[in-house]
């Protein structure tokens, strides 16, 4: 206590007015910093955008009439359906395998956990394009696929691999099995992010391991699993374009088939791109909704509640130029 001067005196000495306290009720007004370079960079970006639009409109090679002609053509639309189906099925397979592998990775049994690690190592370590072609050519490795006793035992049923592995099956297998490896890491990271005390509280209440997983760990892990899974889904949507190499009529392959006949390469690639963009936009919106739902109960600055996040978004433009709203209020 005695080492410090009394509080009021200390404040007084720090005031610029030479130790004299300002009259009661006086409040200094805060003047926000000016940001002239923000105006410059904004102008530059707007200029580049204008150049871009100009090129898009004036270059006849974009051939916009052809784009409109094919945008909703039957062939393209059926390609859109195939792409959506592929994305959905591959993601479902990926999520199921991911949860299974994540559970295996966290198992106390070392063989089980190493087995999962091996799977992840293999599917993340080889290019998805190679995996797709591999599944497509499975018949070369196994001419027939049978169900029966392994290690050379009797077979109960047998099918030719070529009838079983159609391009769509090969695509779903390739994309789904590959995605499983990535999802496993996402699910595992999500589960690890849940505090150990949560599991202990569940155990102390007499819950069993699966109940704790289902009721306590997974709902909390979801907050960490959903955002990257949304990214994975959007990534998957675009990865499905690779199936054009195994002659499956997705968006891209349909566009390629059309421009192989009419040589309007660029307009049809634009058609494909517009569809990918549209679907990606919708997926992004859905992802936002789901994230808000799993944010229940989270308000700390860490997670930044959904409400706070959207408020920030709304303020972005205002914040960019510091419109001095706050200072203006002080003037009153």
């Amino acid at each position: 206590m005695s080492e410090f001067p009394p509080t009021t005196e200390r404040i007084a000495t720090e005031l610029p007015s030479g130790g004299q306290r300002p009259p009661a009720g006086h409040r200094p007004v805060v003047v926000p910093q000016r940001h002239p370079w923000r105006w410059v960079s904004a102008a530059l970006v707007l200029f580049l955008a204008a150049v871009g639009v100009y090129i898009l409109v004036t270059n006849p090679n974009f051939n916009w009439p052809v784009v409109w002609e094919y945008l909703f053509s039957e062939k393209i639309l059926s390609g859109v359906v195939v792409t959506l189906e592929l994305t959905a099925i591959a993601m479902v397979i990926g999520c199921l395998i991911g949860v299974l592998l994540a559970g295996m990775r966290l198992s106390p049994n070392p063989i089980v956990s190493r087995g999962a690690a091996l799977y992840i190592w293999f599917f993340r370590g080889t290019p998805i394009l190679v995996q797709l072609i591999f599944w497509y050519n499975l018949a070369a490795l196994f001419p027939s696929i049978s169900i029966g006793i392994p290690f050379g035992g009797e077979a109960f049923a047998s099918v030719s691999a070529n009838t079983l592995i159609k391009p769509f099956t090969a695509a779903v297998l390739g994309l789904g099995l590959n995605e499983g490896a990535y999802m496993a890491e996402i699910v595992r990271a999500g589960m690890n992010s849940v505090d150990e005390g949560q599991v202990e509280a569940g155990r102390a209440l007499g819950l069993r391991r699966l109940q704790i997983m289902r009721r306590i760990v997974m709902p909390q892990a979801m907050r960490f699993i959903i955002p990257p899974t949304g990214n994975e889904t959007i990534g998957m949507l675009k990865t499905t374009a690779l199936v054009s190499v195994i002659a499956l009529s997705d968006i891209l392959y349909s566009a390629q088939q059309i421009y192989a006949q009419n040589f309007e390469t660029i307009p049809l690639l634009i058609v494909a791109s517009l569809w990918y963009l549209a679907i990606t936009s919708v997926l992004t919106m859905i992802q936002g909704r789901i994230e808000a739902r799993f944010n229940r109960g989270a308000v700390s600055a860490f997670y930044g509640g959904a409400a706070a996040a959207s408020a920030t978004k709304r303020r972005t433009l205002r914040g960019l130029f510091e419109l001095r709203g706050a200072a203006g209020e002080d003037d009153k």
């Binding site: 505090d195 005390g197 949560q198 202990e200 509280a201 155990r203 102390a204 209440l205 007499g206 819950l207 069993r208 391991r209 109940q211 009721r215 306590i216 709902p219 909390q220 229940r296 109960g297 989270a298 308000v299 700390s300």
Partner: protein, 256 residues
């Protein structure tokens, strides 16, 4: 071995972590309705011992009987065999535990925190569990916070929800692991008040605590632990007021 009046009997409990012996033969007897306060310096093994009682921590040797039966083990000659998850869970359901860091489930409201275990573990009807939860939360003074998520509650309120959550399972024994250590000083009182009332209602309690005033006022017995052993035990007046061991004296001199 166990007489009818004993809720908890621990004999020669040993536990090591990676070669470091944390519990070196702990013996303890807690009678039905008794409140026992465990005090001692950090690292003395009091929390580990508490966690051995409901088998959150697996002891290396010794035995712990709760109300006459073993938790987590089955006697087999002179060995103890660890039992399966289901049996352990059943035993744990009758032992309430309150943690230093509350460990409420953040994705559930206060009500959901309290009703979950009775519904899931005991198969209680949802309505019945809700009525009981409302009653318990009212008893700990949170009648107006039934639908609040933990993040919207103060530390003291969260800890009181945690106590209600444990009580919802109708435990015969309550374990408290430094229940006020993570609280701001002005919130300690409200939690201790709830615990005092619980003690008055006849609940058997084992409390690891640094609150000497609470131990003196509420405890029937105070246990001083150091280096994984019980150094001194007895009525609070004796252990806190007139400690016989040098170790106890120096610890109390530092805390008071």
């Amino acid at each position: 071995m166990t007489s009818n009046g004993d809720m908890l009997v621990a004999e020669e409990v040993h536990k090591s972590f990676h070669g470091l012996e944390v519990l070196r033969g702990v013996d303890l007897r807690v009678k039905r309705g008794e409140v026992v306060c465990l005090i001692g310096p950090s690292g003395s093994g009091k929390s580990t011992f508490l966690r051995c009682i409901n088998h959150l921590e697996k002891m290396d040797s010794g035995r712990i009987h709760i109300d006459g039966s073993l938790v987590g083990f089955r006697p087999d000659g002179d060995r103890l065999r660890e039992v399966g998850e289901r049996e352990v869970a059943e035993k744990r359901a009758s032992i309430g535990m309150v943690f230093q860091r509350f460990n409420l489930f953040p994705h559930m409201t206060a009500m959901e925190n309290v009703t979950m275990a009775p519904v899931l573990v005991k198969g209680e009807k949802r309505d019945a569990a809700a009525i009981r939860a409302r009653e318990l939360l009212t008893r700990v003074g949170l009648a107006d916070k039934l639908d609040s998520y933990p993040a919207f509650l103060s530390g003291g309120q969260q800890q009181r929800v945690a106590i209600a959550r444990a009580l919802a399972m109708n435990p015969k024994l309550m374990l408290f692991d430094e229940p006020t250590s993570a609280l701001d000083p002005e919130l300690v009182g409200e939690v201790l008040d709830v615990m005092k009332r619980l003690a008055k209602d006849g609940m058997t309690m084992v409390v690891v605590t640094h609150e000497m005033a609470f131990a003196r006022e509420v405890g029937d017995m105070v246990i001083f632990m150091a280096d994984g052993q019980i150094v001194e035990q007895g009525p609070p007046g004796e252990v806190l007021g007139n400690p016989r061991h040098e170790r106890t004296r120096s610890f109390l001199a530092k805390t008071l």
